[in-house]
């Protein structure tokens, strides 16, 4: 256990996210670190390489805002509400500028984080035999099995400068617990040089230590802890609030019109001082509509040795 790493989102982004960096923003449909991404937009970072398995609306917004020059990903559409038009404009029409992309399958991308976290020079997987993906992406290479079963494809490690994740809770030293869909957060965090964790709630160490199996990212891997309630909106936090599906639908026409998208960024991101202001703008009524009813996991016992 180390000292408190609790800080503000502004300070965490200022300190750890610099122009030109490779930034992983993970969360597979669930716990997408929107608040942190929005703060990156507010601080007008430039020339980032963004790594996300499923770019989602968050990446489309970062692109609209001009933060991103390169994208490493495995699926180039929104979670469930259609195309990401800023990505498509960049790729199909180089409008307003080309976007360099590096493309994998989901498991290929996951294995890159795994290799990065484990400092392995490569990780084999069973995908791509016969696919054009290795032709498109020369980082997907082949290795001959020394046991005689032929060649398999491998991917190289992905080691971001900084990884940002959102979770349900952490203690002040950074022991981070998440449940529901856990995505690529743990390997992406361990693969990075610096890790920012935003959480719905900073809890007492006793809460974390009562259930150590839920800690997927221990304190030693974490550099900054920020309490950002609602920090995954418009995605969701299992047990806390649901996905704002209406927002996902609303984004499609916004994204389709670059001027509208720029106006959205101006109003909702640059026009709000921080995530609390963004949520206030969203309004209490909309937020109430995203609330979920409790569904308790139940408690298990870890046991204490009797004296």
């Amino acid at each position: 256990m180390s000292g408190s790493k609790v800080t503000t989102l502004r300070e965490a982004v200022t300190e750890h996210v610099r122009d030109g960096m490779t930034v992983a923003l993970e969360g597979f449909g669930h716990l997408i670190p929107f608040a942190a991404g929005h703060e990156i937009i507010r601080q007008r970072r430039r020339d980032l390489t963004v790594c996300r398995m499923t770019p989602d609306i968050l990446t489309d917004q970062l692109l609209v805002a001009g933060c991103v020059s390169r994208l490493v990903a495995s699926f180039f559409a929104s979670g469930s509400a259609g195309s990401l038009y800023e990505i498509r404009r960049r790729v199909e029409h180089h409008d307003p500028a080309p976007l360099e992309t590096e493309e994998y399958s989901h498991y290929g991308m996951y294995c890159r984080y795994e290799a990065g976290a484990k400092r392995l020079p490569f990780q084999p997987l069973l995908s791509y035999v016969g696919s054009d993906l290795p032709e498109l992406n020369p980082r997907i290479r082949a290795v001959e099995s020394p046991y005689g079963e032929g060649k398999v494809y491998v991917v190289p490690p992905l080691n971001p400068d900084v990884t940002v994740v959102h979770a349900q809770r952490a203690d002040a030293s950074g022991n981070t617990q998440l449940w529901g869909i856990t995505g690529a957060q743990a390997p992406a965090a361990y693969a990075a040089s610096a890790v920012i964790v935003t959480v719905e709630e900073v809890v007492a160490p006793e809460v974390v230590r009562a259930d150590p199996n839920r800690t997927l990212i221990p304190a030693h891997a974490v550099d900054a802890v920020v309490e950002v309630p609602g920090g995954a909106h418009p995605s969701y936090a299992q047990g806390c609030y649901d996905r704002d599906s209406a927002f996902y639908r609303e984004w499609t026409p916004i994204s389709r019109d670059r001027e509208a998208a720029l106006a959205w960024i101006d109003e909702w991101i640059h026009g709000t001082a921080d995530h609390a202001a963004y949520l206030a703008e969203l309004g209490q009524a909309r937020w109430e509509g995203l609330r979920v009813a409790p569904a308790p996991s139940g408690s298990v016992s870890y046991g204490r040795r009797k004296e």
């Binding site: 597979f28 929104s78 498509r88 399958s105 498991y107 016969g130 696919s131 054009d132 995505g183």
Partner: protein
């Protein structure tokens, strides 16, 4: 899927298969799906209701289905209520054995997680469950499927400056390597969607994988079934090509073979797809997709 109707989920997805075989008969089983005496529906073959019903029948006897949302979700839900209550859905998000209380609006929907039998890490899902050989059917959507079952979900046109940038692989090129078989649903039936050869091969057939000499060959059989608005195409064996196995009601064999990018063979036993029962359509509309998210 096309660029304007992308996969309604986080992976290359949507699909629905069908079974043309048991089309004759006077089964009187209490199991409604095989009860051919039940009143039939006249929903058109290109409708989501028709395709979902065809897909549901395709799942009978299958154990574990790896799918996105949309038509696969409808099909699995319908299959459980009709032809096979034992079908289990796994999602690339790590959900195993979902028991959603509401219809899922995405492969990462919270309703899939609450009450699921297991919520695995993505490494366990792709590594243990998928590569480990536990997936019987993978449902995939596609912009193009070619003669030998190669799938394109990446780009139309030039790779470097594409005419249309499609969503890419998602889990598709992982799934095709290891799922026992793949069922694809196409929303179009024309030479563009069914070319002799895909513009880009995202997810390869075993025949194409075999050409990559010296490689450990994938275990999966690749695309075995393609469901289109006109009929059902099947590949008879691991390295064979797609053949017309069934046409939907009102579609002629000539219509189905005429609008394909290659000389599509017709099976000797080519059948007509049985219509959905009225009850299938009712279940889909009134009990499954009550908000008409996928049934539009």
């Amino acid at each position: 899927m096309t660029a304007d109707s992308p996969s309604p989920d986080g992976a290359a997805s949507t699909a629905e298969p069908s079974t043309a075989e048991p089309s004759t008969g006077d089964a009187t089983a209490t199991d409604g799906a095989t009860d051919r005496a039940a009143p039939l529906s006249d929903v058109p073959p290109h409708s989501a209701e028709f395709l979902a019903t065809v897909a549901a029948r395709e799942l009978a006897g299958r154990r574990r289905v790896f799918a996105g949302v949309g038509l696969p979700t409808l099909a699995v839900d319908l299959a459980r209520r009709t032809v096979d209550p034992g079908v289990e859905l796994v999602y690339e998000s790590g959900v195993v054995g979902a028991h959603p209380e509401a219809m899922a609006e995405g492969i990462a929907d919270s309703v899939l997680v609450s009450g699921a039998e297991a919520m695995l890490s993505m490494d366990a899902l792709f590594g243990y469950v998928l590569q480990g050989g536990h997936v019987d059917v993978g449902f995939l959507g596609a912009a193009q499927v070619d003669r030998i079952g190669n799938i394109n979900t990446s780009v139309i046109g030039d790779w470097q400056r594409p005419e249309v940038r499609l969503p890419g692989s998602g889990g598709a090129s992982d799934i095709i390597a290891s799922a026992r078989e793949i069922v694809v649903v196409l929303r179009r039936h024309d030479p563009h969607a069914l070319p002799a050869e895909v513009d880009f091969c995202t997810s390869p057939s075993p025949a194409r994988a075999r050409r990559r000499e010296g490689f450990h060959q994938p275990a999966g059989a690749g695309v075995t079934t393609v469901i289109t608005p006109l009929g059902i195409l099947r590949r008879p064996d691991r390295y064979g090509e797609l053949e017309l196995a069934a046409v939907h009601p009102g579609v002629t064999v000539a219509e189905a073979t005429g609008d394909v990018g290659w000389d599509l063979r017709v099976r000797a036993d080519v059948a007509e797809t049985p219509r959905p029962r009225a009850e299938d359509v009712r279940l889909l509309r009134e009990e499954i997709d009550t908000v008409r998210l996928y049934l539009r």
